[in-house]
């Protein structure tokens, strides 16, 4: 019983300590631009639907950001899994394209910004759909192509790398035994490669979503952005509202951690066969 209590308390120790240090330091610094009191920030987080800096609430900005991340991320997953499975399975394709992808991978998503702006400017998915007014225009105009592209770049590589690695590490005995049982190429893909590589793919998807989420602030600093949690933070900084900056940072952290947690939970449940069949 005491052990159980201890296990529940352990993860809470560092955040509580941090809050205490923050509170003490804020009182001593006594400057709300350098370090606002903890209670101010806490107030913002406890009331997430309150309008901030006439930019909408914390919650509505997070929702907009999530929509952007999801658009870029889903695109990245679909492309990376398809390319990854074919590249992982067909050696010649792997040899042909691995250098190409290796050259682009080290480029940080942020370094794409100038090029992406030159290409897409402030065009949004509403422009793509040919909309100029209405409800859908309002939604889609928030999805700037340039932002989605930056997020796409961030999410693409983790998924691609782990899909290739997952497919390449499928035991040849599994493939061979399927072949001698009469499996055609299509059955090899859907009944052996995909399920065998699924744990690696999902791990890549989890990491990819994390990276995509981290690209958010850089994407939302692009011109044409007037909303989103990343923009809220940069805007709050220019008007010296450090409490909003910190509240925004904390929300990014909490949402990111929640996404990670959900993914891990799903991984544990679905792929227990992998852990136990060593």
């Amino acid at each position: 019983m005491r052990r159980l209590l201890l296990r529940a308390l352990l993860p809470a120790i560092t955040p509580l300590l941090l809050l205490a240090v923050w509170q003490v330091a804020a009182v001593r610094v006594d400057n709300r631009i350098i370090l606002p009191p903890m209670m101010d920030v806490l107030h913002l987080i406890i009331h997430p639907t309150e309008d901030l800096l006439s930019m909408g609430s914390l919650l509505s900005n997070i929702t907009i950001s999530l929509a952007r991340v999801m658009a870029g991320y889903l695109l990245a997953v679909v492309l990376a899994v398809t390319i990854g499975i074919t590249m992982g399975y067909y050696r010649p394709l792997f040899r042909t394209f691995s250098l190409f992808f290796a050259l682009f991978r080290p480029i940080p998503p942020l370094a794409w910004v100038p090029l992406v702006l030159a290409w897409f400017g402030v065009a949004s998915f509403a422009t793509l759909a040919g909309l100029e007014y209405g409800l859908w225009y309002m939604y889609l105009n928030n999805l700037k192509i340039s932002m989605v592209f930056i997020i796409f770049i961030g999410g693409f590589y983790p998924v691609l790398t782990s899909t290739i690695q997952g497919v390449q590490s499928v035991r040849t005995t599994l493939l061979d035994s399927a072949r001698v049982l009469g499996a055609g190429e299509m059955a090899i893909f859907t009944k052996v490669l995909l399920p065998a590589a699924a744990p690696a793919i999902v791990t890549g998807m989890r990491i990819g979503l994390g990276v995509a989420w981290m690209c958010l602030v850089s994407a939302e600093m692009l011109p044409g952005s007037l909303s989103g949690i990343g923009y809220l933070i940069t805007h709050a900084f220019t008007v010296a509202r450090t409490d909003v900056v910190i509240a925004g940072m904390i929300s990014i952290g909490v949402v990111g951690a929640a996404i990670d947690f959900i993914f891990r939970f799903f991984e544990e449940r679905t792929f227990s066969w992998q852990r136990r069949s060593r």
């Binding site: 005995t173 001698v180 992998q274």
Partner: protein
């Protein structure tokens, strides 16, 4: 060869070269000739690395030979076919599928409807005495049980020929002897042709009608030995020991030649 008429597998002048990492050529098989009659139980023994797996993989249609030909019922083997089944040493069950779904895999590839597939799979699970574990996952089974499932899975495809590459190699001695007896009883009831690779001379003598002894240095067949001892074979039979002694001496010479000892 004398038994040309009844032969189900014919191998003539089979040669396989591999290109090693350092660029040199490995002669895994050199001019192998072998005829296997229908319903025969042939064991292949030889030192590690002499080309046993290579030979079996070519017969299964998984690898292509450099030269020569392997025929099944007169037709060259150039790809895997459901008539030629194969059991591997280990790790061949799909770990995310239950036992019954693993056994039904061959019929599933052949697009047999689900209900019929389940009936088939259950029948073959019963054959290896594992119907109680139909809904277990491979990692919940012992090594011996997994190999039983692998055998049931190969049989569920109703192949004419069963190729087995050291299927009992990773099992403990007791389980191994148990499975040898089960395999013989299945073979006697279902009349399959079996080509069984093993590095255990004892296992080969217990199982085989004919033993193919391979040379370690040249990728050739050193000798074909007919085992005429009546079945079920007793390990206490003096012929058993004499034959084992003779084969072991041949293999020992090979290992010395390979410079392993």
């Amino acid at each position: 060869m004398a038994m040309k008429n009844g032969s189900i597998l014919e191998i003539a002048g089979l040669t396989k070269n591999y290109c090693a990492e350092n660029g040199s050529i490995v002669h895994a098989l050199q001019g192998i000739d072998l005829d296997i009659a229908a319903n025969d139980f042939v064991c292949v023994v030889g030192p590690s690395g002499c080309g046993k797996s290579t030979l079996l993989r070519i017969m299964a249609g998984l690898d292509r030979q450099t030269d020569g030909v392997a025929r099944y019922l007169g037709k060259p083997i150039d790809r895997p076919t459901p008539q030629i089944g194969m059991v591997f040493q280990e790790y061949s069950l799909l770990p995310w599928r239950t036992v019954i779904d693993n056994v039904g895999l061959g019929p599933e590839f052949a697009k047999v409807p689900k209900r019929q597939r389940l009936l088939l799979a259950t029948e073959f699970l019963q054959l290896v005495g594992l119907e109680r574990f139909a809904h277990a996952y491979p990692h919940e089974l012992s090594g011996g049980m997994r190999q039983r499932v692998a055998i049931a899975r190969a049989l569920a495809n109703d192949p004419d020929v069963l190729l087995m590459d050291e299927p009992f190699g990773a099992l403990d001695a007791h389980t191994r002897i148990l499975l040898q007896k089960e395999l013989l009883s299945i073979w006697e009831r279902h009349r399959k042709t079996i080509v069984f690779v093993t590095h255990s001379v004892d296992e080969a003598i217990f199982l085989a009608d004919r033993i193919c002894v391979m040379s370690g240095t040249s990728g050739r067949i050193m000798e074909m030995i007919d085992v005429t001892m009546p079945r079920p074979r007793e390990r206490s039979n003096p012929f058993y020991g004499q034959l084992a002694e003779r084969i072991l001496r041949m293999l020992e010479g090979e290992v010395v030649k390979m410079g392993v000892l």
